[in-house]
Symmetry: D2
Subunit: 324 residues, 4 copies
């Protein structure tokens, strides 16, 4: 039902964890065809949602696959040790997807999003902070030390800047350099502002069409690219329509303590929300003012985690000084 | 009443036009001590709100002074001719404040805001596109043609980047270079998303403390700076709390067509909104996804209007090729 | 002979005009297989060098093709009218290569070079200032007015940032979107500092391997891309080894007015230059300090000229307000 | 004599170490009024030139004061451990100037130079990477841990961008915030390309008028600012006129092995160099193509060193995660 309201505004639920919560919230029980694992670490929690059956795919609105979610509220605080730990947790979770790839087997990092719009700039920022080594394998092997993989990196921009579908640019490059694996980094939309820059999702299903805050039109996944795609996504916004809808609900809840008895009416809600968000509709997003600082921190944590996973031979000290 | 709700989230009404609408909406009549002029142009409308009496100052929450608002919905469209006209309207409105300043009398442009956060970057972007000439007067007068004024420009950054109050930086520079006039450009928050990048406010009262989307802490005005300050502001966001509150109202209006009878209850609304916006409170803003493109267009229109007003000897062709 | 000295430092002559001057300087007569046309305009001169025979190709070190050079010293001055004229001359010269392409036939702009290194950033800067329309043809045709072509644009970065050969990225994208024509914009190295940001070369031979100041490794031309490639290049640097060699020559010329008689000795010159440029060798470039301002102006002139040529339906006023 | 040639092109020697070498080279003996200390570390060398007497000031062209030079060729290599060591050496050398400043006593970092021109962007880049804390002392003391000083930071831009002398902006801010110490970071010009991004100079004399690659017009030192100024400078260019002159000398040296006997003639050299560098004269600089990467590394080393010196309570791990 909520799904329908969101979809009427062109809004996707990017986090599998949230999709599961909503579905379970409606049905009150575990979703058939879904398995969940949990793991605590000092400054947060890892939840792994396995969508194992086709049936669950339809209910959840997410393809069959593994969705690892790292939740760490301390990411939003000035807490170096916690950030550090999250980088390491991310690295450890990524390792399962890269362990089988030999040093010379290339991995392509793709930073999705629009570098000119702060909340959508996470992907390009991670690319800027990533250690690129593929050319060294070809032209300057003496610059490499042991335990480094061949990594290339691309921030393909967005349709409005290039006139080209992002997926077309990536696919074109993939057909030339034939990587073993793509790791795509993207900004997501969450259902709750508490998730902004505190939650990281790693999905082995890649990017679905219409997801991400820029609503990438075409999917970037194994089917479209011909190689496995790991998507790393972080919510940086909540759609304004979601906030609006939640506020109506919250107000109605407050009303329950009064004599008024008004249930949530999706049709009325839709009309009310449309009126307030006119003329932008589902195209409005909510972000904290300090989003630039939050994105900078998150990009550093993610770029660091990726480099630790891909280049096991590097010490962290190496890493921080290796970067250009 | 609404004012109170907003203030409880630390939200100011930056546009005098909106403050007047709300006050009048509550009282149903013209505000004593306020005078309003109107003027149509092809692609929009100019409204001039004169707050002439101290009493009105308190009611409106805005200091005595002149607030010129240019409303031009076509600013958000791909409509070069309309943008062009708005630049000229802006120039004409600015001229009244600069006409008395001689060529050698310096004017300081100040671009307020955080260049790393797209919706707050309007001020710094205008500075980038502005024609700076003060140094030519001293070092290369042969580069000047007739009808150009001495202009200097500064984007002082924000407290989080410099550790210094913006007003302190400006005041320090003002005491050194002693301009005749400051023109400060800032991103504002509006009450309605329709105003985002379609409304321009020119105020001869400068910047009040706490206004602007970055909530500049200290005022930048004649009192603090010792010279007149003209503020040019454009809404680039709406506070999420405003959207939330409007949605509740809109939903309640929809309910009026049903048997349920629920009036707006500010205390409940406040609790509902707080709950949804937790943990950011009044610190969340709503922006359209294409804000980067909207800001780029608006910055061009404003920088162009300022240059036309300050450098009457320049043709528009000169202007576009003069810029670095 | 000079060619040899430069080549020993890995230096190419990017301008056909200069290659011709040097060859003619050595032989004293017109080069067989080369034809030259000239045309004056108010603020400069157009020279068209046609290399028509294979034999000339070897002598000139440039492939058979047409090389149009616009020389306009006023590009380096604060002279809006002259810049304007150069944009129009560039547009007129480009038209011969695009006239046959229908509106729906896509043209791909490629901005070569490193956006982090000012003198190599011309290509990416032109892309930023270019009017991209291909997506509008597909998704928003109402935004188009008559007389606009389908244009896409890409700044592929450099090997050190992506780990991928620039030509691989472009070729990958070309195979996906199949443009009718590529226009590649690049920073060049000249033989004389007077040419820096005052000379524009348009070549229908594309980019040769090893040319441009970043020494793009692979060619970007009809052979490698499968579609015609027009290269627009502007010198932004002179190699330090060229300056060094020219200084030796200039000093030896001065000596001719003294009793000392010392001819130019290439072997000694090479050793002297190597010693001074150690440890960078041919990898050092000479640029004026104000290169950022020069590049900004040149990028505007080129982006403007390209848009006038590709979108004949746009007025210049449209153009300047159309840009994001 | 060389000094005169350079000065005729408006060129200063920014490094005291080089000035001393040239003076000693001419006189063959130690300079009266100058004392020199040396210290080796694993990846480089520290040389401290004390200019103690006024007489030496005139000969050296540098004010009385202490000039600490860190020479570390490994800065130009991919050598994390060496970069790390240089950061620590820099921190240790800086400590002597900051040890007496209490936590609450503010230190102002100033990043001189033009962020749009890569070789002149070192100062602004260091500011971007610096830990700013002054506002936390006032508004969010809970964000501070022990052992952190109050630091503010400013990149004032250059005359061509602001129309205001850099020194005026800094002086204006200094009079407002009254720091105990200014640390100014600047790009310098060296006499030899081997020094580019391998040499760091720390001078307690601040910035002299006319030094730095942008030739800051006014001095930024204790006299002009009223507080002590420590200048940290790194050569990022060599003036083209210096390269030219060195090449003539190197060629003449090569000629000594031939029967030709031609001594260096400054008047002829000047004419030859002028001819080659026309129309830019002393305004041309020589830089390696990879200057963007070299500047990025150097900025990181310097920002790191400064933070270690100013915030003794931070671990390096803290530092790298503290940064926005």
């Amino acid at each position: 039902m909520l799904f329908d309201l969101f979809r009427s505004f062109g809004i996707n639920l990017d986090l599998a964890l949230e999709a599961r919560e909503i579905v379970r919230g409606e049905t009150g029980q575990e979703i058939p065809g879904v398995q969940v694992d949990r793991e605590r670490f000092e400054h947060g929690e890892v939840t792994i949602v396995h969508i194992v059956e086709k049936a669950a795919e339809t209910i959840m609105g997410k393809p069959v696959g593994t969705y690892i979610t790292i939740e760490a509220p301390a990411l939003r605080e000035n807490h170096p040790a916690a950030h550090h730990e999250v980088s390491q947790i991310l690295a450890r979770q990524l390792e399962r997807f890269v362990a089988h790839i030999p040093e010379y087997g290339n991995i392509l990092l793709v930073g999705l999003g629009n570098w000119r719009a702060t909340p959508d700039a996470l992907g390009p920022k991670v690319i800027e902070m990533s250690l690129v080594t593929r050319h060294l394998y070809n032209y300057a092997p003496q610059e490499l030390k042991g335990g480094m993989r061949s990594v290339s990196a691309l921030a393909p921009g967005v349709l409005g800047l290039t006139g080209i579908e992002t997926a077309e640019i990536i696919k074109g490059v993939v057909e030339k350099i034939r990587p073993e694996l793509i790791i795509a980094i993207d900004s997501l939309a969450a259902r709750s502002v508490t998730r902004i820059c505190t939650t990281i999702q790693i999905a082995d299903t890649g990017i679905s069409p219409g997801s991400g805050i820029g609503n990438r039109r075409a999917g970037i996944n194994r089917e479209s690219m011909g190689v496995p795609v790991i998507a790393i996504g972080v919510p940086t916004v909540v759609h304004a329509a979601v906030i609006s809808q939640d506020t109506i609900n919250a107000y109605l809840e407050q009303l329950q303590n009064t004599p008024v008895n008004a249930g949530f009416n999706p049709a009325l809600a839709r009309r009310a929300i449309e009126q307030v968000l006119e003329p932008f509709g589902g195209n409005l997003t909510v972000t904290p003012k300090e989003i630039d600082a939050l994105i900078a921190t998150t990009a550093k944590v993610i770029a660091g985690g990726i480099s630790l996973a891909l280049h096991p031979g590097l010490t962290e000290d190496d890493y921080s000084y290796y970067l250009h």
